[in-house]
Amino acid sequence: MNEILTLTAAAIAAKVKAREISAREVTEAFLARIEAVDNDIQAFVTVTPEASLKAADAVDAKIAAGEDAGSLAGAPVALKDNLCTRGIETTCSSKILRGFVPPYNATVVEKLASAGAIALGKVNLDEFAMGSSTENSGLFPTRNPWDLTKVPGGSSGGSAAAVASLEASVALGSDTGGSIRQPAAFCGLVGLKPTYGRVSRYGLVAFASSLDQIGPLTRTAEDAALVLNVIAGQDSRDSTSVPRPVPDYTKALTGDIRGLKIGVPIEYFAEGISTEVRAFVTTAIGILRGLGAEIIEVSLPYTDYALAAYYIVAPAEASSNLARYDGVRFGARVTSAKDHIELFENTRDEGFGAEVKQRILTGTYALSAGYYDAYYAKAQKVRTLIRRDFDAAFEKVDAIISPTTPTPAFGLGEKSDDPLAMKLSDICTIPANMAGIPALSLCCGFLDGLPVGMQLQGPAFSEETLLNIAHTYQLETDWHTRRPTL
């Protein structure tokens, strides 16, 4: 295997800038890797070799001219296929968007390009980011690089699988209810969901607008910090992006967590979380204590209601966000219809998969006049209570540690017929979306050859703290250096 593939994005950028390797060499190595393993993994929906090599040559030219090639110079990145890319088909892994070629780039895509990152292509997801296994992709399922019979998680399953299988150095995903962290946990990666408003959503195809947030999937905390440096910041095109200066997140990686107060919420170690996973996280807590962190028990009593409230709010917003897929202006359209209503109905019936339809129906119901107060308004109240839970906890601690998922990756097809069991795999990750706070998953061990993830959550805009805890843990452990055999 080419040595380049095992390098972190930080290392690639350093070597490319030092002219030890060229961006073209790096890009060619990763394109070859995709060629070699993606038949098995099926992470990529679209690979763009020509555009990638062109971008790599531009980076090399800049370096040759003595110009600053950017903090991610030459680092190959995989983009979740719900991020709009100018001139490149953007499908959301849905049949309804087949043929949709956006005339514009998402803000994060622009930012990565200006930082010298090389986009390799678009990666698979559960259709419109709705799901936890990438089996809901309207195109094809993606496999977990650690065990091809297991799911990579979802909805950013393609992003996680691509990075874990060394098809990309880093990837971008989106996280509405754990969709970055759960696949990161299943694939042994660092996955960061930033604070709501930290990263512009412009160009991210919306699932649930008040919950969606773009973030990195990487092998190291350092790479996550590096990518966050590039993509964070206010954007005049996204009203919900926050006008707050962006620190240099890599500067926060001190490797020193002495005196940091880390909370352990009893509700996240309850029934439903496998005893093995609990044991791994408990071991990791011991390591953090050994590194000088103070471990304090905390309680987040409304955690139990987060999942239920989420499954009102997210489908409600989705039912509205997905109304635009009507076959009139872009994407797929049925070839004949007697009037516009039939055009809408048939296009949507053929274009959307079962999970998406189910959520649209649920959300439509929850917003209906007679049910609004009982469902949507009530769920928003629960959301406030969850936020207050966290506020109270963060008066006592700097961060909260828990498992990311109740179990490691499950088998392909294992939970397809049991949507409730599937949704329960997001029970630990959903509260952070409901509260808008940052949360990060990182690998804390392997169970029967499958990665186990632990989650760090912090108050709004505490990404520096979370990244430093993860970084300090990674300095002490070597889980993140393990590679799947492919």
């Binding site: 959301c92 514009y104 998402a106 919900t240 439509t364 917003l367």
Partner: protein, 480 residues
Amino acid sequence: MEYEVSVGMECHAELLTNSKMFCGCENAFGGDANTRTCPVCLGLPGSLPVFNKAAVEHVIRTALALNCEISMHTIFHRKNYFYPDLPKGYQISQYGQTPIGINGYLEIETPEGAIKKIHITRVHLEEDTGKSIHIDGLGYSVMDYNRSGVPLMEIVTEFPPDVQSGEEAAQYAENLRSVLLYLGVSDGRMEQGSLRVEPNPSVRPEGSEKYGVKTELKNLNSFRAVRLGVEYEAARHVEVLESGGVIVQGTYGWNDEKGETFLQRPKEFEQEYRYFPEPDLIPIDFDEDYIERLRVTIPELPLAKKRRLMEQYGLPSSDAALLAQDQASAAYFEKAAKSAGDPRAVANWMSGDLTRLANAANTPVYATPITAENLRELVTLIEKGTITGKIAKSLIEDMFTTGKTASALVAEKGLKVTGADEALSIVQKVIAANPDVVAKIKAGNEKSAGFLVGQIMKEAKGQARPDDVNRLLKEELDKL
């Protein structure tokens, strides 16, 4: 049985802003289809709205002018429904308790000259839709999204409605339009649809507590159509009820040629819009200072101006109303009437010859080459007796074409008024030359005096003052 008419009024005005409500596309009328569009107003996946501050200010100023309270915390909502002209599948609008303006009123004047308050329940901000275009024989419709995302203000009257007739509905629409023009927030073009007036008339037996079923009138492109539409519809309601029928709830169009309404779309069920707060936009919080800064930009409003012009200048209601229709005309009038002896004469010139000339040249009265100062001077010359009205009528044509002052033209043309002495000799000359006519007059045929006046004016080349001529002729005839 006698019936009472009640009319709820819903008005939509496209706002005059440079760009659209939630994107940077130009806000303009007409042009090639789909040339003023972008990912945001086409509702492309991943696009996000960012609100237009100027549009928000327009709505605040309108709400203040309509005596509304301002919601200091206001939010946008999504109104969800499917239609090809609605790119996102929802319209960003304002629903519920906190639209920008609430609980205001607009005053109208009844035909008797009394003031009536028409209460307004809400003034809110939303976005316009695109347009479906149906081309005969094509077999499908085509879409133009140039209008999609144009800022739209909705003004809704309170229930139960204060408007009680077609006349009042038209009056309300006309006043509202003037207010919008005064504020500079809308061009008020009903024929282009930038101002859409949609009355909801209903009738009920006089004295009945319960309001009748209302129908919604659309495509009324003039105030006349508003009045006639409401009158027609109210009469139709009465007829239907009298013959034992029921009013079919729905949207009715107006056929201007036939002078009839027609059912466009029956309302079979309550539309379910699934309103919820727009998560892509953050709530807007105003502070008092900001609102006060906008409040001081509200000018004197049309009805107040009209009544002041009547009081201050002694103008009749009709003249004052005409002048108050737009600020520039009123300002022109006030400038011209200042220190002129008779402001009514100024108003008459404006509504008469000046309007005729201006219309022919397709410019507004206040923008012709005849400045307010020049009009004032013309009127003053007449008042001082330097020129006659008849001369003034010819002078104004020259003033219009040359832009010169009346006094300059008088000097140029050597025009002057025939003095009383000179007039007397002309009168005597004409009497002497027409003994037969004089005889007729003496025999009691007073009408024949007109012939003599004509002869005298002709002799004086129109430069004699009519008052002088009439007085002198009478005196001379009496002497005979």
